[in-house]
Point group: C2
Chain length 189, copies 2
């Protein structure tokens, strides 16, 4: 089956809560396919929590077949390295599930996600939540926050073409008129 | 099939090289079952490297069926948090493979592993390598170093009963003679 749409999953991995959201982009329109979260039993041993996370995320990816799984980029510095390494366990299991479903993993830094959605790399969680709600025409921001974060990642991957086009249009005022015209033509193709 | 032996795997996870070693303990004797390492292709995307690691470690665990998979405990502080988070990806995938094979994951701090094998929590890599070689009656320390580290973890899990008995015997000199005698009897039972 050839799909005329592109499906993008965003995942915000955590050992306690992993948020996920799958969107589709067809003929320039963005739409929510499914979103939710996986909570693991904090009293269970690490290996069984990772197994539960892997099973549930694999089930989502197998059923919805996104081409791309978007996660947050790794930072250079972490305030709590031990917690970050545990998050790395969950992120590793999510990336593995993507690899097993033949989805490509793409990572963006948090500031790029915020800037891409709101125009401001330091936007608040509320501002990002409002843009996620607006872009996907939802009644209200999805909960828990991990789901909004996951959808923001997926949207960040979906919107750059338009963002780049807008940025290019803004920059045209600095260009010689002839070049600006050719760029307008190229963008409208 | 009821096994009269206990099988213990030690794993030293890394995104580049993961060392593993499986030992068995039967009637008080320790023996090497199999050891080796998994190297992932550094030029491949993260999700495919994790997939390769998962496939190879799962194959080892399924074939050799250890009851326990021993890994290094997480530190509180890391000199290079970003590298540590990437190691966390590999550790997460190894723990997942253990959970899928119904093996229990046990973690020991590096100093305990060194002390348990050599009597010194600050022992050098060479000292640990010599003890691994001696305890498993090998011709020379296994290579790469990740394999020796993995076997040291497995041995640390296998030796505590003897270690505790030795420590208890040492402490007997501080005990009243009557109690020391009863302890000797208990240890020799």
């Amino acid at each position: 089956m050839t799909r005329t749409e592109v499906r993008i999953a965003g995942v915000d991995p955590g050992l306690y809560v992993t948020g996920y959201g799958v969107i589709r982009e067809a003929r320039g329109a963005l739409e929510l396919v499914e979103a939710g979260s996986v909570r693991t039993d904090a009293s269970a041993p690490l290996e069984l929590r990772l197994r539960q996370l892997h099973e549930e995320i694999s089930a989502v990816l197998s059923a919805l077949e996104p081409e791309v799984v978007v996660v947050e980029d790794l930072y250079t510095q972490y305030a709590h390295p031990r917690t970050a390494v545990l998050m790395g366990h969950a992120r590793g299991v999510v990336c593995l599930a993507a690899g097993q479903c033949l989805a490509q993993v793409v990572a963006y830094p948090p500031a790029l996600v915020k800037r891409s959605l709101t125009g401001n790399g330091n936007a608040s969680k509320e501002q990002v939540g409002r843009m996620v709600t607006q872009l996907l025409r939802l009644a209200e921001p999805p909960k828990p926050a991990d789901v909004t974060d996951a959808l923001a990642l997926a949207l960040c991957h979906a919107v750059p073409s338009r963002r780049h086009a807008r940025a290019a249009r803004r920059r045209r005022s600095d260009l010689p008129p002839e070049l600006a015209e050719r760029l307008t033509e190229a963008l409208n193709r």
